[in-house]
């Protein structure tokens, strides 16, 4: 179930694993997104200050700045309330998922993921 976005949207993939970023990039490009990558929260913050993305696919556990801290800081940036943030993490404890949602995440993907799950979650987040 692949839906074409009306206009090209920018998705920032934030994950310390190059493999995950590569897999996510392929799925997101198939869904019609333009994709940018960052390896941790600090890099991601620098990115959003340059060009605020429409969607952020965000890992939780990363060196330097983790996903939750990045999310808090993103929401305080000018225009930072707008991007749809979808966590994408091996963390599958429901209390942690609730915590991410309470901090302002729009959706949550538990790794491992495939194209159907990403499409389903982006649709639920209102990002497709």
């Amino acid at each position: 179930m692949v839906k074409e976005p009306v206009a090209v949207k920018l998705c920032l993939v934030v994950d310390d694993s190059r493999v995950v970023r590569k897999v996510a990039r392929r799925i997101l490009e198939d869904l019609g997104f333009e994709v940018a990558e960052a390896g941790d929260g600090v890099e991601a913050l620098a990115w959003v200050r340059t060009a605020m993305p429409d969607v952020v696919l965000l890992d939780w556990h990363m060196p330097v700045m983790n996903g939750l801290e990045f999310l808090r800081r993103l929401r305080q940036e000018p225009g930072g309330a707008a991007p749809k943030v979808v966590f994408c993490s091996v963390e599958n404890d429901l209390d942690r998922i609730r915590e991410a949602l309470d901090e302002g995440a729009d959706e949550y993907i538990m790794k491992p993921f495939d194209g159907d799950i990403v499409a389903s979650k982006l649709a639920l987040a209102g990002a497709l």
Partner: protein, 267 residues
């Protein structure tokens, strides 16, 4: 698996459950029947089908037929349909002030009926007692549905994270639906080709995305059964892309058919 093997399975599916199975789709038959053959202790699907043919045992025949029945299931598939049911249709039906009976026919592994139950629990809007019956042809799917335990993969298809944390509990290997939602549903094995009058009458019958898997004659019979299960003011809801026989697609919201419109079409 030989061509006669595949033809036998296709014939049994048509005879027992009205299912349209293409005997040329060897991969589909192999995929669906291999787990059954393993479970029953056969070395191959061919051996299993030989036993089905030679032993003429009802249990084996049904194991094959059930495995071939449609199994595709996801949470909150066609969400607009559920929103319409919970937001408009049921409050309207509830105005009569009488208890409502709902039937989800061909419920598979339960995702659809639980989606309805979750949406109803969230809305808490009906204001009258609700009874939800879910049925399927396949005993094993019903067992899974009744347990209400789903894998990480399954809970990520159509189910929002907010609903996951609201309605599920984490297990070591999967997620269990809360007893609060599970207790809203009763379960029963039903072959929609049989006489279903013993189930009583319903205000709403959902049977989405099954018709396409049925042979034309079976479709007519199943439609007649579903229609006769409706109360006077009841509604039949099919898949959004499925139109009831004889009804124009524009007769109402996609997939929704009132008892009155069905009766008019049949006249």
């Amino acid at each position: 698996m030989t061509p006669p093997d595949r033809e036998l399975i296709a014939r049994l599916c048509a005879e027992r459950a009205g299912l349209r199975v293409d005997p040329d789709k060897a991969y589909l038959l192999e995929n669906r029947l291999a787990p059954v053959a393993r479970r029953e202790g056969f070395a191959s699907v061919h051996e299993f089908i030989c036993a089905v043919r030679d032993r003429d045992e009802e249990r084996l025949i049904w194991a094959a037929v059930e495995a071939m029945s449609p199994s595709e299931s996801a949470f909150f598939r066609e969400p607009a349909t559920l929103e319409r049911i919970v937001g408009d249709l049921l409050p309207e039906l509830a105005r009569r002030g009488e208890p409502l009976r709902l039937w989800v026919a061909a419920c598979g592994t339960g995702q659809e009926v639980y989606s309805l139950a979750m949406a109803l629990e969230e809305a808490a809007a009906a204001g009258v007692p609700l009874e939800i019956l879910a049925s399927d042809l396949c005993e094993r799917r019903l067992e899974k549905a009744q347990a209400g335990v789903y894998s990480q993969f399954e809970v990520q298809r159509g189910l929002s994270a907010r609903r996951l944390v609201r309605h599920f509990e984490g297990l070591e290997d999967g997620f269990a639906l809360s007893p609060r939602v599970r207790q809203m549903v009763r379960w029963r094995r039903v072959n929609l080709m049989d006489d279903t009058s013993r189930l009583g009458k319903f205000d709403l019958v959902l049977c989405r995305n099954l018709m396409g898997y049925l042979a034309p004659q079976a479709r007519t019979r199943v439609m007649a059964n579903l229609e006769s299960a409706l109360n006077g003011g009841g509604w039949l809801v099919l898949g959004a892309a499925e139109a009831a026989e004889g009804l124009s697609a524009g007769s109402g919201p996609p997939g929704f058919h009132s008892r009155a419109a069905l009766a008019q079409a049949a006249a």
